[in-house]
């Protein structure tokens, strides 16, 4: 797909956000992603971008998909994360059997959604399953609703839980507040066994570029606002941007964003994907922190739409930046001859 079409997609994301997503005092984090908004996202074709063709996917190329993720993250990281859970995660594990395809179809239209228990190195998951029964206590899951749950059981198998999902919703999670986070309990549920280690494999290895796109979007969203704000905000009768250290910090971030962006846009993105993952996670957190700082007191308030980037960037790093994925970076750079790492 040409970069021209990618640009059109980017524009359509911006238009969609402007038209359909609440902002300011009563922004998206307060309402959450409603069934109605999810419907609209589905209608506009944002939910099935990377689903398999049999599930109604558009067969869009990677470049365009990550461009859309990036663009949503710039404005509302929660929407990007919702798309990610469906397309990058559920799309990958559910496409291998008929029932799964059917569910993906409906999810791609925005009719249902999945919760996903994010695999954690130190997760407090305690689950027990027999042939027909599963009892689990998955404390952290994320997603749109409790229709279906993707999770890893004690023995490392990835399961699709189909009913009796009891969510203890977290009232104010750290980040991505427009999607649901919560502890989950399932008892005597029906489930489908999707194979050993599937979810972990995806989070560790297969979504580097999607993570980069979202982290980059957060960095861009924060820094672009800060660039504009520091032009108009005055202290001591001087625009903030005219203070050298402010200009230096903002332009350094913007420069790094450009470097990551160019690499993500280039055809060598795959070869660089582990590097991009970690560089962008770091960049998102630094950019968002800097942005809150230069917005001063105003940046500290939800209604200004800046502090959410800081929370989301931190959450991104917690979810995607652990020791295990770092080890994959070490291994990539050092080659296969690695011992302890």
């Amino acid at each position: 797909m040409s970069s021209e079409i990618t640009e059109i997609l980017r524009t359509s994301v911006m238009e969609f956000v402007n038209k359909n997503v609440p902002s300011g005092e009563n922004g998206l984090e307060k309402s959450g992603i409603t069934p109605d908004l999810r419907k609209k996202l589905g209608e506009q074709g944002f939910l099935n971008l990377k689903l398999p063709a049999e599930a109604g996917g558009t067969g869009m190329d990677a470049e365009s998909y990550i461009a859309v993720l990036e663009e949503f993250a710039k404005a509302e990281p929660s929407i990007a994360m919702e798309m990610f859970f469906l397309n990058s995660v559920a799309g990958r594990v559910l496409s291998h059997f008929e029932d799964g395809i059917e569910l993906l179809k409906r999810a791609g239209r925005g009719e249902i959604s999945f919760m996903t228990a994010i695999p954690s190195e130190f997760s407090r998951i305690s689950s027990h399953s027999t042939e027909t029964t599963i009892t689990s206590d998955v404390p952290i899951a994320a997603g749109g609703s409790s229709d279906f749950l993707l999770m890893t059981d004690q023995s490392g198998r990835t399961l699709l839980v189909k009913d009796k999902i009891n969510v203890r919703k977290i009232q104010k999670p750290l980040g991505f507040r427009a999607i649901t986070w919560g502890g989950v309990e399932t008892k005597n549920s029906q489930y489908e066994d999707l194979g050993k280690g599937k979810l972990e494999e995806i989070f560790l290895k297969q979504v580097n570029l999607e993570i980069t796109a979202m982290a980059l979007g957060i960095a861009e969203g924060a820094i672009e606002k800060t660039l504009e704000y520091t032009k108009v905000r005055k202290v001591f009768n001087t625009p903030l941007k005219d203070f050298g250290p402010v200009a230096a910090a903002v332009t350094n971030m913007k420069g790094e964003i450009d470097l990551v962006k160019h690499s993500l846009d280039s055809e060598r993105r795959e070869e660089n994907s582990e590097v991009l993952r970690h560089a962008s996670l770091e960049l998102a957190l630094n950019s968002a922190r800097t942005s809150v700082q230069y917005h001063g007191g105003y940046g500290y308030f939800e209604s200004f739409g800046i502090e959410k980037f800081y929370r989301d960037a931190m959450a991104m790093k917690m979810i995607f930046g652990g020791l295990k994925p770092r080890e994959l970076l070490y291994r990539k750079i050092y080659g296969s001859d690695s011992g302890r790492i």
Binding site: S120, P173, N237, V292, Q293, E302
Partner: protein, 370 residues
């Protein structure tokens, strides 16, 4: 040289700690944070237990530190009702001391400091709230922004412009004590803060508000100096907040690391993170204590105070971020995520980190030795 607190202060620290552990219940912490609710009952309890005492500024510092390490939001909430008191202590008339400070000292009133305006957080000298003299009163018009205790305080130490000579920005400012039950006072609580959500932050408005002349603090035209002097005091206490936030986050991270067992705790990445956190905390403590020791013996070193404040804010942010990295996904609904949200304000209030650095450099360029 002697780097130890006195036995009395160590005893006091223990007492504060025990109080905090008992009274800062999970319920109180969550409720205040999620609902942005000021814990007034806890404030009274803290006062009654003698944990905030102006007899000894070291004790104030210790209280702030210890309580913030248990919960920054509540810790700040219960120690902030006296915010600005030093302005009256140092520069106020006996009348003002008796009328206002006695209510503060008995824990019956809440006060606040109204300096920042919507147009500029760091630019104190640019204040534009006006006070004009008329028939034995000052008539005040203007607004103040991001004012702590805005909807709670009984009175405010308020920076106003009493001279119209714009050329002399610093010299046209004065300080008034403004009662909040005066006609013409209003306050809008600002909600949706990133952190320290149990504190109350407001925009406050003065509309032809009359203040009796005797509520002028010190002399007319010296307001900028009084406020700057105050900031050199309050920054020490912000640094103490930073110590508390960072120490609290560190302790939790340490517990987490230990709970994950030997294989995890022996990883060098994890040990490096712990070492870097602990080193920053130690450095913060020492700079804060030295700055405090000068200040509390009436020989403040402004550049050192600013070093402590700036470094403490940066450390609180650094340590809470590192701690959440260690926590990973499990941290998304944890004490640590609250510490992280609470930390950031320390780089902003009482002079942003940027302002502190300028203060450090400018004082040193003038020859000050921190």
């Amino acid at each position: 040289m002697d780097f130890k607190f006195s036995e009395e202060h160590e005893e006091f620290r223990k007492k504060v700690r025990e109080f905090g552990k008992k009274e800062f219940t999970k319920q109180r912490i969550r409720d205040s944070d999620i609902n942005e609710k000021y814990p007034d009952e806890l404030r009274e309890l803290t006062y009654k237990n003698g944990l905030v005492s102006y007899d000894d500024p070291w004790k104030v510092l210790i209280s702030i530190e210890e309580l913030c390490s248990i919960d920054p939001g509540l810790g700040i909430s219960v120690t902030i009702p006296y915010f600005g008191a030093e302005v009256i202590m140092l520069f106020g008339s006996d009348h003002l001391k008796e009328k206002y400070l006695s209510r503060i000292n008995s824990g019956k009133a809440i006060m606040g400091l109204a300096v920042t305006e919507p147009s500029g957080g760091s630019d104190v000298a640019g204040a534009s709230t006006r006070a004009e003299k008329k028939d034995g009163h000052y008539v005040v018009n203007g607004s103040k922004m991001f004012i702590s205790n805005g909807n709670l305080a009984d009175f405010f130490i308020t920076l106003v412009r009493t001279s119209s000579k714009e050329a002399k920005r610093h010299h046209g400012l004065s300080v008034l004590v403004v009662d909040t039950n005066s006609k013409g006072f209003s306050a809008n609580k600002l909600t949706g803060k990133l952190g320290v959500r149990s504190t109350t932050t407001s925009e406050i408005l003065f509309e032809n508000l009359e203040v009796p002349e005797e509520n002028l603090v010190g002399e007319e035209g010296k307001g900028f100096y009084y406020i700057m002097t105050f900031f050199n005091i309050s920054r020490i206490f912000v640094a103490a907040q930073g110590i508390g936030v960072a120490q609290g986050a560190f302790d939790r991270a340490m517990d987490l690391v230990k709970s994950r067992g030997e294989e995890y705790s022996s990883r060098e990445e994890v040990q490096f993170a712990l070492a870097e956190m602990a080193t920053r905390i130690k450095a913060t403590r020492l700079m804060t204590y030295e700055a405090a020791s000068h200040l509390f013996s009436y020989e403040p070193i402004p550049s050192l105070t600013s070093m402590a404040k700036q470094y403490a804010g940066e450390t609180a942010v650094f340590v809470t971020e590192k701690a959440l990295e260690i926590a990973g996904i499990d941290g998304i609904d944890s004490d640590l995520e609250r510490f992280f949200r609470d930390a950031k304000i320390l780089e902003i209030w009482e002079g942003t980190s940027e302002i502190e650095k300028l203060i450090i450099a400018r004082n040193m360029l003038k020859g000050e030795k921190p």
